[in-house]
Symmetry: C2
Amino acid sequence: MTRDTRTRLLEASAQLFREQGYAGTGLKQITAAGGAPWGSLYHFFPGGKEQLGVEAVAHSGSRYLRLFDLVFDRAEDDVVRSVRDFFQLSAEALHKSDWADGCPIATVALEVASTSEPLRHACVEVFASWRESIARRLAGAGIPEARAADLATYVLCAFEGAIVLSRTDRDTRPLRVTADIVAGTLGAELPG
Amino acid sequence: MTRDTRTRLLEASAQLFREQGYAGTGLKQITAAGGAPWGSLYHFFPGGKEQLGVEAVAHSGSRYLRLFDLVFDRAEDDVVRSVRDFFQLSAEALHKSDWADGCPIATVALEVASTSEPLRHACVEVFASWRESIARRLAGAGIPEARAADLATYVLCAFEGAIVLSRTDRDTRPLRVTADIVAGTLGAELPG
DNA sequence: GTCTATACGGTGATAGAC
DNA sequence: GTCTATCACCGTATAGAC
């Protein structure tokens, strides 16, 4: 059974927003990509493009949050390894998508930070949820909570920036180089 | 004497692109902000919006390159201090501009990475020039050249990501936290 | 040579057919 | 209740007035 129309619209939006940005993507293009008739958009999202954007950001955000947990669970006892895996997986995904699949939030976040409070706030919440997820794992590895929170922010910043550079350059090197150095930082902070 | 019309158009473009993105900024808005009549745009930029974008990216890029050099020169003997200053200055500029003045390249880079080769290439060149500038200073402080290049990439990634987070959150904390940790990384790499 | 007025396509949004 | 046909508007680009 194929996903319902509403979900297809949400996922088509998320994909197009991350490739082309929010302003650069038309609603017509979204309905076409989602295989949904034009009229259904305003049926499911009466708030128009902005509501669709807010929900698409939240949707992508929670999908990636689950992916974080998956990667962390896979190497439960080695948090540094998990962070490294995450950079590695992102590099592969980016390359395999012909450099289209970067961060699903960052492009929209930069576009709307000064132009739409509802959208900006949706991005704030996603970033916060990601940071919290990373911080919890670092704390679980024995790093004091306050320090774990700062390190999580640092990891996410380095990760986001590396995606910007790798996607622009069409080269996984920024992600690989940054992963190595960030892993070194985290390794030095672990107790024992 | 006021700058010439062409330059005003270029700088208005650069400012609007960084606040709202490339797709989200109209040519009408650019001419209005630059105090230039509508017709002058296609006189100075016959290649239309894309040419204007390419030149605006290059213009911002070289302005920031000069700023890099200025900050590095100010504390010539302490490259870690310079990097820290750069994060600090960016945090101040971001806050003082009411969270509008982030990176003049990153927003456009993410928007166009999959949609315009000329624009993407302009962004590639700017990032490369910035990395090279940082790498040269790190090498000058005694770090082997290959390692200096990797560290420069790392610094730029962390910096770009921190701007994304700080601008989205409207909080200088990501920039401050990341600056501290990156400074620590660099400090540990210096000889002596 | 510089720019005002206009063309044409695509945008987000809606009213009314089924 | 679901969606097709249409709207008014703004986007980029251009032709021709000065």
